[in-house]
């Protein structure tokens, strides 16, 4: 492993790595746009200039390989001067409309200008004007003026998604990003181009203009969209959750995530959630506190004989939740009829070759492991027969958190509700659940962003995640619900506060008539 000196600091870097990787490894800031660790090297932005001892001219760090005994720096005056002028060139035609630019606050150009630029512009020519709101496809908008032609997005569609929609057209200062022959940028990875775009040229239609980024906080999590379990960051504030972005994890998702996974924040927000316990049946619902609902459900469970109880799990809960639920039903209630509800058995093994898998549950593997370790098995036919034959009086369902991936949801709700009592744990409100005829308990549970735990992905890799924010403070995790059903206590004082939902000038509505 070659030893090199980065700004005087001696480090050992892997064979064949580039100087920019050495800088990153040493934790030294270096200006760059076109280089991205997940893409090939283009060397077009010319900002990563470094001075290599013994070389007469400056080199670009992203395309220079390290050599034993090399000594590089980016602190000398000549480097600083070069980067400054490089930035000046980048900004010649840049509109600098930061106030209305969605990237402001997380923009490479802003950051690097503050760090390396800070000069008076010396261009007297008018700027080249280009189109500002170009529809690239169903998910992405392009602002051609803000683009600095780093070609990251082009390389992404070429190398990673392999869909080749984007290209650079025209020449000189008229160069611009566009789609080939008007073909829309439409693939399941298109929003990664928005993430890697170092400026505000590519913006996500879903997030565009909805928040300024400095209002957002981020929390690390695991995407619950499919069994791959990409590492993600969830961006939220006191109004709710706004977007999901990938987090680097070389073992699972690298630098990317799919567009489907980015939609998982939608059902988490207040609008779609179940906010209190509901007990009753069609037209006779009673909204009760979560505690009352779950306690009375527990009472019903303990009254029913174990053979008349059926437990149905979906693969959308954490390993810890499965463990506590299995323990409660198997060891305390001695229930033997346990079933795994798989939403799309025919698609489970599908894979798009990059990240996205047909199994749209984050923890199918974890559920299978729980079944195996508790020696439980149940076939779906038995469940159907048991409900039809009135063998099962009480059915408890750990319903899906993301209901949109369960195409058979309505049908299954109908089937389960033929049992005398139905206990349904769900994060989101559901219309067909509201119109069932049997005695029903609806208990709100937490979504992935509100709880800590772990998911086991398709490889069998157990990935821990922490709670990010709380949207519905009343909602319980399955472990808490099980404790309450068993008649024990949980610590209510430890519960966090929820979000307020869309911001209003709240004092106004409270004031009323003077």
């Amino acid at each position: 492993m070659p030893k090199i000196k980065v700004n005087g600091q001696e480090i050992e870097v892997p064979e064949k790595s580039t100087v920019i990787q050495a800088f990153k490894q040493a934790g030294v800031d270096i200006c760059h746009y076109c280089w991205h660790p997940g893409l090939s090297i283009a060397g077009v932005c010319r900002l990563c200039m470094v001075q290599v001892e013994g070389m007469p001219k400056l080199q670009i760090a992203c395309n220079t390989e390290v050599k034993e005994g090399m000594s590089v720096n980016n602190t000398s005056d000549v480097v600083k001067e070069t980067v400054k002028w490089g930035l000046d060139f980048h900004l010649i035609n840049h509109p600098l409309d930061c106030p209305i630019c969605d990237q402001a606050g997380e923009c490479g150009l802003q950051d690097q200008y503050m760090q390396f630029g800070s000069y008076d512009p010396e261009m007297a020519e008018p700027k080249v004007k280009k189109s500002k709101a170009v529809d690239l496809g169903p998910t992405v908008m392009l602002d051609k003026e803000r683009c600095i032609l780093c070609s990251r997005c082009v390389r992404f569609t070429d190398e990673v998604s392999k869909t080749n929609e984007l290209g650079i057209f025209n020449r000189g200062d008229r160069s611009e990003i566009g789609t080939v022959q008007g073909k829309p940028l439409d693939n399941n990875y298109s929003l990664n181009t928005v993430d890697i775009c170092p400026v505000g040229a590519l913006t996500s239609k879903d997030f565009r203009f909805r928040q300024r980024v400095w209002y957002l906080k981020e929390a690390d999590s695991i995407c619950p969209g499919c069994s791959t379990g990409c590492s993600v960051k969830v961006h939220y504030n006191e109004e709710g959750v706004w977007r999901v972005k990938p987090r680097v994890n070389p073992e699972v998702n690298g630098h990317w995530m799919c567009d489907v996974g980015r939609n998982t924040y939608k059902y988490v927000n207040l609008k779609s959630r179940l906010l209190s316990g509901k007990v009753g049946k069609r037209d006779l619902w009673q909204e009760v506190s979560v505690e009352d609902a779950v306690r009375s459900a527990g009472l019903k469970l303990r009254e029913t004989s174990p053979d008349a109880i059926a437990v149905v799990y979906t693969g959308q809960y954490t390993n810890e939740e499965y463990a506590s639920a299995f323990k409660f039903f198997k060891e305390e209630l001695k229930v033997k009829n346990v079933f795994h509800w798989l939403n799309n058995p025919e698609k489970v093994n599908e894979f798009d070759g990059l990240l996205f898998r047909g199994d749209r549950n984050p923890n199918t593997k974890g559920l299978e492991n729980a079944f195996a370790s508790f020696g439980a098995k149940g076939s779906w036919d038995n469940l159907q027969a048991g409900i039809n034959g009135r063998k099962f009086k009480t059915v408890i369902v750990f319903g899906p958190e993301d209901q949109s991936v369960f195409p058979d949801l309505d049908e299954k709700i109908k089937m389960f509700s033929q049992a005398e009592n139905l206990i349904w744990l769900t994060a989101c409100a559901n219309k067909s659940l509201d119109s069932v005829g049997g005695e029903t308990w609806q208990i709100p549970v937490k979504t992935y962003i509100e709880k800590a735990g772990s998911f086991t992905n398709f490889q069998g890799k157990v990935q821990d995640f922490k709670a990010g924010t709380t949207i519905v403070p009343q909602a319980l995790s399955v472990s808490e619900a099980v404790e309450l059903m068993a008649g024990r206590e949980i610590n209510w004082n430890l519960r966090p506060r929820g979000v307020g939902g869309p911001k209003t000038n709240y004092a106004v509505s409270d004031r009323g008539e003077l």
Partner: protein
Amino acid sequence: MSLVRKPSAAASWYLPGILAGMWFTFVKMIGNILNPKKMPTLNYPEEKYEYGPRFKGNHVLTVKKDGSIRCTACMLCATACPAQCIKITAAEHDDPTVEKFPISYEIDVLRCVYCGFCEEACPVDAIRMGPEWQTAGLNGSKFAYDIQQLAYRPQLKGGVVSVLDDQERHQAGI
């Protein structure tokens, strides 16, 4: 907090003080009756004091030459506002050269501390604080000023035109 004063011996000699005060009032009253021009007070609300144009009173959202709202919904004012009383909802404009505009803009003036930070933060001269200061209302919700009130209230006579014009800037190549 309540303050309890113990009656002291000196406090029982209050009459001379009161008489001195009444004498002073009486002298001023006679003076005002004899010479009403020099009277420093106003017969509010029949007479009103006009502040200079730089007075930081009620907010005005400026408009472009065509009368549409100047604000670009950048939310810098809302970010700067220490009272957090500005609420903006941004939306995409039909005209691609405009891009972003506020579909709703609301200032809760009862929470506003009239610091003027919003005016200072605005990059496009879209919000100003004007000389109006009489803010009366019968209902609490009357104090949440919306775009209609902020930009087009009758007192503004069709709106105040911003000094910053996009078309001019584009022509100048900015």
